[in-house]
């Protein structure tokens, strides 16, 4: 190949740099300017009459997403927001609590009581499972990260229902993702089940409006969380000093970049985030619960073996039931009260159809 002259080289370089800059310019036109959270001082959350509206039963079983045409009461106005699930199919319970046996067994038991994963995962669906992989400090026995077999079980169920792709992801606050994926044991189980561990690279975070946000109006969130067909939120039930407990709504913090700012007026901000990234299913891992010194843990004395899994399409209900396992009143937790008041779900457990199933063994 003939040697390029200096002029030609400079011309190519200018072309390349110009092209990249131009594309950046176009890209930024479409992207909203990232708004830093408003300097909200601690506003008391308005207490409105408790929303007793039930999640509507719909006639046909709802499969997958794109429920826009089937739903009457969803308040989200743009298609940028994850659609709020319309509840479980007719005849199915609103919330399932499964107990006993090995973690994967418990999950399967729960789903058969719920009506099967096929109700939520259609053939070829793009599924994202969002467990709690908050750090790389300890192995799963310390109940600081989601039980690997619960995650593995969910991966298997999704694939059996015909999912096209099942990705598992989180971004830890302590340690690197690659360390944490391995140390928690989740990577091993997910890959054995046929799923893939995915990283959350910086360039895929996009600034999104939260149309129903009462405290925060926009946030930088991982792109795929909003575009996936199915989002399964799998927190592990833990004590948390600020939130009280970290459950489904708190677990969603893993999908946004700027978490420090979320810790002001935490309850309302978690509700706002949940309104944007409402998961298709909330699966609370209470196989082991961390009763104290959360969310980092480290004391086996703080771990309580419960062998329980709670599943619901209603994130507020799932968190409310999990709160009772700690002996807490659901509405005592700020995020549950804020979520219910925004219409994201209900904390009144006695108004829900709850099915409790136990493994026979």
């Amino acid at each position: 190949m003939a040697k390029m002259s200096r002029r030609e080289f400079l011309q190519y370089l200018a072309l390349g740099v110009g092209g990249v800059s131009l594309s950046q310019l176009f890209a930024s036109c479409g992207r909203e300017k990232e708004t830093i959270f408003p300097t909200a001082t601690r506003k008391p959350v308005k207490i409105s009459p408790t929303d007793t509206r039930k999640i509507p039963d719909t006639a046909q079983p709802q499969i997958g997403t794109n429920t826009a045409d089937l739903v009457e009461e969803v308040e989200t106005s743009t298609s940028e927001v994850r659609p709020k699930p319309t509840g479980t199919p007719q005849g199915s319970p609103d919330l399932v609590v499964a107990r006993g046996g090995e973690p994967e067994e418990i999950v399967r038991l729960a789903f058969s009581a719920l009506g099967g994963m096929e109700q939520y995962v259609s053939k070829g669906a793009d599924v994202i499972i969002k467990p709690n992989i908050c750090h790389a400090y300890y192995t799963y026995e310390y109940a600081t990260t989601t039980n690997p077999w619960v995650v593995g079980g969910l991966v298997k169920l999704c694939l059996e229902a015909g999912a096209g792709r099942v990705r598992v992801m989180d971004y830890p606050f302590g340690g690197t993702p690659e360390q944490a994926y391995g140390k928690t044991g989740i990577q091993e189980q997910v890959q054995a089940a046929g799923g893939e561990m995915a990283f959350m690279p910086g360039f895929k975070y996009v600034s999104k409006e939260i149309p129903d946000g009462r405290d925060i109006r926009s946030v930088e969130i991982f792109d795929d969380i909003l575009t996936a067909d199915v989002l399964i939120d799998v927190p592990i039930a833990k004590h948390h000093s600020l939130a009280g407990l970290t459950l489904g709504m708190k677990n969603l913090l893993g999908v946004i970049k700027n978490r420090a700012a979320m810790h002001r007026n935490l309850g309302q901000r978690l509700a706002d985030l949940s309104s944007l990234a409402y998961p298709t299913l909330t699966v609370v891992d209470a196989v082991r619960m961390l009763m104290d010194h959360g969310p980092t843990g480290g004391n086996l004395d703080d771990v309580k073996q419960m062998d329980t899994v709670i599943i619901s399409t209603d994130i507020v209900a799932a968190d409310s039931y999990a709160a009772t396992l700690f002996g807490r009143q659901p509405r005592d937790l700020g995020f549950i009260a804020a979520g219910e008041d925004m219409g994201l779900g209900t904390s009144s457990l006695d108004e829900l159809r709850i099915e409790q199933v136990n493994a026979s063994a």
Partner: protein, 522 residues
């Protein structure tokens, strides 16, 4: 005999031949392996003992460390191989293995060099010997500051602080731009999964000395404009060390009967050591065994033969007077450094890697920068002047930039001289790096009376070194119940994750300070 007037026109034409091909192949392979070890050092699965092999091959680091500590580490025995190589083949390390030398050959700037300009004076070759002797004498006095001039550490530091992070910035910017293009986004994602975390980091790397190291590195390369391999000829202390050993090297360049005085060898020699005034002989302590002259000579007048005996001592070689002068300089320099305030009052935020706190850390650390590279959370940064001039470019933890991860012990595993001890994870978690103190004026909970307990949330100690007390605060007419953090200092290990994650901008409201009471060991 001095030959300041040697006019050497180092032409853009480089000789070719079988030997040169072999040498270049070995050079490139060595450079690729060096870079590969650098890239792999962020992987947790590869053994630190393997990844620090390039540093342990360096006899300058080993000998300086030996002088400073009076103990010979088993791991340092690798550098004996380099010395053995030098005793047999002279400065073959410089010509065949040294990664910085290879970079200087690749970016030789031949085309930009003024063709007929006189090269620098021969007497400049003694600078590297002065530097070497100063390093060794200072090391005998316990000071290793000047090891920042070691070529391997220069290249490693530049790669880890400047080149790789800048490369990451470019790639990330391209990814961000191209991701917006609809038909390219899948390609970008696949590319990204392939490249991270193995080759590029998952988070951007920030290093306080990114610019300084880049400038130093570019400076060394720019010196090639004055003469090829300027650094190797006149400045490199490792070259000086190997040069001294090469005085008694076995295999040396010789001029034999075929020589007709055409001066081709003089022109192609990268170190400019072939002297027409001395019958085209070369100094074995300057010759890097590149074999260019062998391939360039049209008449077979050059040979490399095995000979016993000592090479002639040249003018620029260190003599007794030079040695005494540098000893004086080293002593004066070390004494001057000891007069700085850091020797009586430690800087408040001087945080060393876990297990490395202590006065003799600086007499062990060889400033290689491997720990800074390997730290997965950006906590380790090169110290600058604020921690003491003698600690320049030694590692320090800067919590605002990165925390010491509770599940990591990588720095101890990679340190080639065990200045940072290789500890088990359990032992590493017991090491006290510092102690955290809350600044109640800036703290959101204490100062603004609003809920925030991010520091407590992040504290990795199982029993939590940061605790919360519930208090009723009346301010502005209303009473609120808030949680106020306080540090249980006996439990705190100073990992810095509290300072790192504190949502207060600028200086954090909780900061890690150097451990211990004044006058009492910690």
């Amino acid at each position: 005999m001095a030959h300041n007037s040697t006019k050497q026109t180092y032409q853009a034409w480089r000789p070719s031949g079988a030997w040169i091909t072999v040498r270049k192949a070995v050079q490139y392979l060595a450079l690729v392996i060096f870079i590969l070890f650098f890239v792999l050092s962020r992987q947790r699965s590869v053994n630190g003992d393997i990844l620090n092999i390039p540093m342990r091959l360096d006899p300058l680091l080993t000998i300086a460390h030996l002088f400073s500590n009076r103990i010979f580490l088993v791991g340092s025995a690798l550098s004996l191989l380099t010395l053995l190589l030098t005793l047999v083949f002279g400065r073959a390390w410089c010509g065949w293995l040294c990664p910085l030398g290879t970079v200087l050959d690749l970016i030789s700037l031949d085309r930009w060099r003024v063709p007929d300009a006189n090269p620098p004076r021969e007497s400049w070759r003694s600078v590297k010997y002065y530097l070497l002797l100063t390093i060794l004498f200072a090391a005998l006095l316990g000071n290793l500051t000047l090891l920042i001039f070691d070529p391997l550490t220069i290249l490693y530091r530049t790669l880890s602080a400047s080149i790789w992070p800048a490369l990451d910035q470019i790639v990330t910017a391209l990814e961000r731009a191209l991701y917006q293009v609809p038909f390219l986004s899948n390609t970008v994602v696949s590319f990204d999964t392939w490249v991270r975390p193995v080759i590029l980091p998952t988070e951007p790397v920030y290093n306080r000395n990114a610019l300084v190291f880049a400038v130093v590195f570019l400076g060394i390369i720019t010196l090639n404009l004055a003469a090829p391999r300027f650094w190797c000829r006149y400045l490199c202390p490792l070259g000086g060390l190997l040069g001294l050993f090469s005085k008694v090297a076995l295999v040396r360049r010789e001029v034999i009967e075929g020589c007709k005085g055409c001066q081709l060898c003089t022109q192609v020699c990268p170190t400019g050591t072939i002297n027409p005034d001395l019958d085209y002989s070369s100094d074995s302590s300057e010759c890097t065994m590149c074999l260019d002259c062998l391939e360039a000579c049209p008449r077979g007048g050059v040979a490399f033969k095995a000979r016993m005996g000592r090479s002639a001592w040249r003018e620029y070689d260190p003599g007794r007077r030079h040695a005494i002068a540098t000893l004086g300089t080293a002593a004066a320099g070390v004494a001057l450094l000891r007069s700085l305030p850091e020797f009586t009052r430690e800087p408040p935020h001087l945080l060393r890697p876990p297990g490395a706190q202590g006065n003799d850390f600086l007499s062990k650390c060889v400033r290689c920068g491997e720990c800074v590279r390997v730290c997965p959370s950006n906590a380790l940064q090169p110290a600058q002047l604020e921690y003491g001039s003698d600690g320049v470019w030694s590692p320090a933890i800067v919590p605002r930039l990165g925390y010491c991860d509770y599940s990591c012990r990588a720095c101890g595993q990679i340190c080639p001289v065990e200045a940072i001890p290789a500890l088990t994870l359990e032992d590493k978690r017991l090491q006290v790096i510092g102690k955290a103190y809350i600044d109640k004026n800036r703290c959101i909970a204490w100062g603004d009376n609003q809920e925030c307990i991010v520091c407590e949330e992040m504290c990795p100690i199982p029993d939590k070194a940061i605790r919360l007390e519930e208090k009723q605060i009346t301010s502005g007419g209303s009473t609120v119940q808030i949680q106020l953090p306080y540090v249980e200092r006996d439990l705190c290990i100073g990992c810095g994750i509290c300072e790192n994650k504190c949502p207060v901008n600028g200086e954090a409201a909780i900061r890690v300070y150097i451990p211990g009471d004044a006058g009492l060991p910690f």
